[in-house]
Amino acid sequence: MTKVAYGSTRPRRPRLVPQVAALSAAGALAATLGATAGVASASSVHRSSGRSKVVPLVVYSAQGYDKLATEDFSKKYHIPVQLDDNSTGPLLTQIEASKNNPKWGLLWVDGATAFAGLDTQHLLLRGYEPRVSWNSLGLQALPKDKSYVPTGVTLAGAMAYDAAKVPNPPSSWADLLAAKWKGQIGTNDPSQSGPTYPFVAGMMNDLGGIGAGETFFSDLKANGLVVNPTNGPTLAALASGQINIALVQSSAAVGATFSDKNLKVRYLDPVTILPSAIGIDAKAPKQEQVEAEEFASYVLSPAGQKVMQTGDPTGDSLYYPVLNGIAPRKALPPLTGVKTQNIDPYVWGPKENTINAWFDQSIVQ
């Protein structure tokens, strides 16, 4: 059943009033419809041997493969999952709005800064780390207090370009400011595109601070930078020829090469890593926390990694694994020789709103 069905926890009604009764009846009917249509229901709750009675695990996720992953997990672990599959923004809004009485169990989205922000507010369970063999990307992304678990890495600010029109693409960030690229470069608005903030913050981090970063983006703007809301419109602008170089998330850039064979992807040094991660609600019932830990372990198991790499073949599956022994998909450009950097999410997370506001005021407008 849904976590709370109307019929079982009826609010106290002081007296019968027709409109309220009508609304309640409609609500109850709707609840029934919803419950019967849901992924997990009361009838699917099983008692797993050797464990306390399982409770539904509420998963908030923005990953393209989350439906397949949660279904596979439920089947293997006999734990019912209620999936809130949404964009990152609404998921974080829900968590913040309900933080006095949280209803989620596990959060699975891209971007360490969001997790650092939640951790700072003591909303994440600390100290859990699955027993796995991390590779160098995984070790870079792992937080010291173990408040979240990296599950993969994409790169913020990957350069996608039309090889037919740009045979000799820029080879450094400074090259982008050359007059020959005037009006040909596009990127996303960090206020609307979650993965773009780490790119902007990464540039500031690499250049030595916020001021230097602002100068860089102001110079880019002076060179005709085109800003679109998110990856999709920026890649559409690249495909249509409005721009010839797009700075977007690596998974989106590589995914676009499947449908437009002229597109190529290149990483400029240094490129900022953008981990996808799992965080567990610090206020969730103990049993749900245990189940969430089991889910994180499953995701980092070979079975879980297989689902992640195949569940969204032209989107989120295009990530770099964080585990030794798991190879990235062949479509991904190798990271050999590419300098990566990991921005400290506890330093750059709190600055996100201020920097995004500056970007909107100074670069977008």
Partner: protein, 622 residues
């Protein structure tokens, strides 16, 4: 029981409600005979008792009516909105900051970029509402009162306009006129057009087209109740055709001012255009700032609430206009003696002009966005070429995840519309009565609720209905379908009531009283006397809500029960996960399904409603 029925007050408190300043009835009296009036002597006792029971229950409902209405408004609209808006001055109340009381957020929105965005929102909304009226009124008139060719298509196509989420036309127009867009690719090098559309003019144009269906619905509903007798009287006294229209148009003032008010409020709370065309045109609107505050991390609910306060305050503009326009006048023109209207025959040149005008509107409102959506769904390579493919549609139909969200959204839309149309009718009845302090407050609250962006409602519902003490009491409805549907109802009710005001204010009390005079109980008199003439506006209001909820996104995103995503969330999931083409194909399929649903309802009304209902509600012959 009989005594109670005798002692109960006459129809003043019935649910439909005569106007407090009701005119004398057809029989020449202003009071209503009791249920034991003439003609009832010969009836069987059982029948009398049943009738008395009806009357009693009706009176009981009537007595309960007002407190129940206010309770509903408080629970559904006021409490959630207040829980959100209070954060502007007291963020600590819901753990969103350290200050128990601060004015810093309100001060902040009155300066800098947010202040500019607010000013933009207000003037754009005024202009869009006026444009909606300027376009919607003639179309409504032409479709209802003339022999306009294809007039039956006009109404159906208007539902299509209403069905489209506002971001869809914006994307369509953008694809057409943006640098290197379709216009330039086919050799039309018109930077002036690009400059015009990708700016304030384009924003007003798009939002104005969004207002047209609201004007159309309000005005056609009012025209349906406006009999031929007024125009005939004017013509008999020597008025020209234009003069007759000038005489009749003011009778439609409630519908016109309602349309303007809804247009303003819907526009000022719109996010679809604000986040697409207005954003790309570097023309900031307040809703974009509000959503940016809510969707930023960490979200600034207090900043968003401060903007919300100013959006609520902005509805004073249309309300002041409405109050000035309607002060002290009565618009009850629909009675049992209302005469069917005869359609005017347009002269050939006028007919050509009218067809061109209507076609131009639909081309802009449907043709361009249709092109945008279809092209996006048929191009597999982000638009790099004009190579068309059905791969996105194949993916949509091959996906096992389509049917569940579709069925859910159909069910949610139908349930919400059914609940809302009842509540909307009751509120509209109250608003149509003589203006009192109560109705003025109700009017303001409903319009302010329309002006609040949906995300405010959704976040407010989380704050209000997910309080820890409620959970301790066992009231735990956050993340259930119950709260989602309540949120849908709350967001739809104000618009619904507004749309119905025009039609309800035309109903003369004599319709109901005639039924009572002939021995019917209050409910029966309403069902037999008033409901038939309002059946068409009520059907339209039902469809208005259904279509609005079917693809509703902000409330769905924040309140849906995990595991049961509505259609809009599923579409957004694709659009947000790089599957832009698949998402657009899903949107196209969804709109087609909704259109079929609209067709079924309209066809069902045509087939099932008695001819008399359609004659009175249909407005015109021919």
């Amino acid at each position: 029981m009989t005594l109670a029925a005798h002692e109960s007050p006459p129809a003043r408190t019935d649910l439909v409600g005569g106007r407090d300043d009701a005119e004398p009835t057809a029989s020449g009296t202003s009071s209503v005979p009791g249920p034991r009036g003439p003609g009832r002597e010969g009836r069987r006792v059982g029948s009398t008792r049943r009738s008395d029971l009806w009357t009693l229950s009706a009176e009981g409902l009537a007595r309960l009516g007002r407190p129940v209405l206010w309770l509903s408004i408080v629970a559904l609209i006021l409490a959630p909105s207040a829980c959100f808006l209070v954060l502007a001055v007291s963020p600590r109340l819901f753990g969103q900051g350290s200050a128990w009381f601060t004015l810093s957020y309100l001060r902040a929105v009155l300066t800098g970029g947010t202040a500019t965005a607010l000013v933009n929102s207000v003037w754009v909304s005024c202009a869009a509402a006026a444009l909606g009226l300027a376009v919607g009124f003639p179309i409504a008139w032409l479709a209802s009162r003339t022999d306009l060719p294809g007039r039956r298509v006009v109404a159906g196509a208007m539902w299509f306009v209403l069905l489209l989420p506002s971001w869809l036309p914006a994307i369509g127009w953008q694809r057409l006129v943006q640098p290197d867009g379709v216009m330039y690719r086919i050799g039309l090098d018109l930077p002036v057009v690009t400059h015009l559309v990708m700016g304030p003019v384009g924003v007003v144009l798009l939002l104005g087209m969004r207002c047209v269906p609201f004007t159309y619905l309000a005005v056609t509903a009012a025209l349906a109740g406006l009999g031929q007798e007024f125009e005939d009287a004017a013509r008999v006294h020597g008025a020209t055709r234009t003069g007759a229209i000038r005489l009749v148009a003011p009778i439609l003032a409630p519908a016109i001012t309602s349309a303007l008010a809804i247009g303003f409020a819907e526009t000022v709370s719109d996010f679809g255009v604000a986040s697409t065309l207005a954003y790309s045109s570097h023309f900031p609107l307040a809703t974009y700032q509000l959503y940016a505050d809510v969707n930023g991390f960490p979200p600034s609910f207090s900043g968003a609430a401060a903007i919300g306060w100013l959006l609520v305050a902005s509805v004073a503009v249309p309300l002041a206009f409405q109050a000035r326009a309607l002060r002290g006048r009565s618009y009850a023109v629909l009675s049992g003696r209302t005469r069917p209207v005869v359609r005017r025959e347009l002269r050939p040149r006028a007919k050509l002009g009218a067809v061109a005008f209507v076609a131009l509107f639909y081309g802009a409102a449907l043709g361009v966005p249709g092109f945008g959506a279809l092209s996006s769904s048929l191009l597999a390579d982000f638009g790099a070429s004009f190579r068309l493919t059905l791969v996105n549609y194949r993916l949509v139909f091959a996906s096992s995840g389509l049917s569940g969200p579709l069925e859910r959204s159909l069910a949610y839309g139908a349930i919400t519309a059914s609940v809302t149309v009842v509540g909307g009718f009751v509120f509209a009845t109250m608003l149509a009565r003589k203006r009192t302090a109560t109705t003025k407050i109700l009017d303001f609250l409903l319009l302010a609720a329309v002006a609040l962006p949906s995300v405010v409602f959704a976040a407010g519902y989380i704050f209000a209905y997910n309080l820890p003490f409620l959970s301790r009491m066992g009231i735990d409805i956050y993340q259930t379908v119950t709260l989602l549907v309540l949120g849908y109802v709350a967001s739809s009710l104000p618009t619904n009531a507004r749309v119905l005001v025009g039609a309800v204010s035309q109903v003369q009390r004599s319709l109901h009283e005639a039924g009572r005079a002939h021995g019917a109980g209050s409910v029966r008199a309403w069902a037999r006397g008033v409901f038939p003439v309002l059946s068409r506006p009520l059907t339209m209001a039902w469809l208005l809500t259904f279509t609005g909820i079917f693809l509703e996104l902000p409330i769905s995103q924040l309140l849906y029960a995990p595991g049961s995503p509505p259609l809009s969330v599923a579409i957004q999931d694709n659009l947000g996960n790089y599957h832009f083409g698949t998402g657009m194909a899903q949107a196209v399929v969804a709109v087609l399904f909704a259109l079929v649903a609209v067709g079924v309802v309209l066809g069902g009304y045509r087939l099932l409603a008695p001819k008399g209902w359609r004659r009175i509600g249909g407005g015109a012959h021919g």
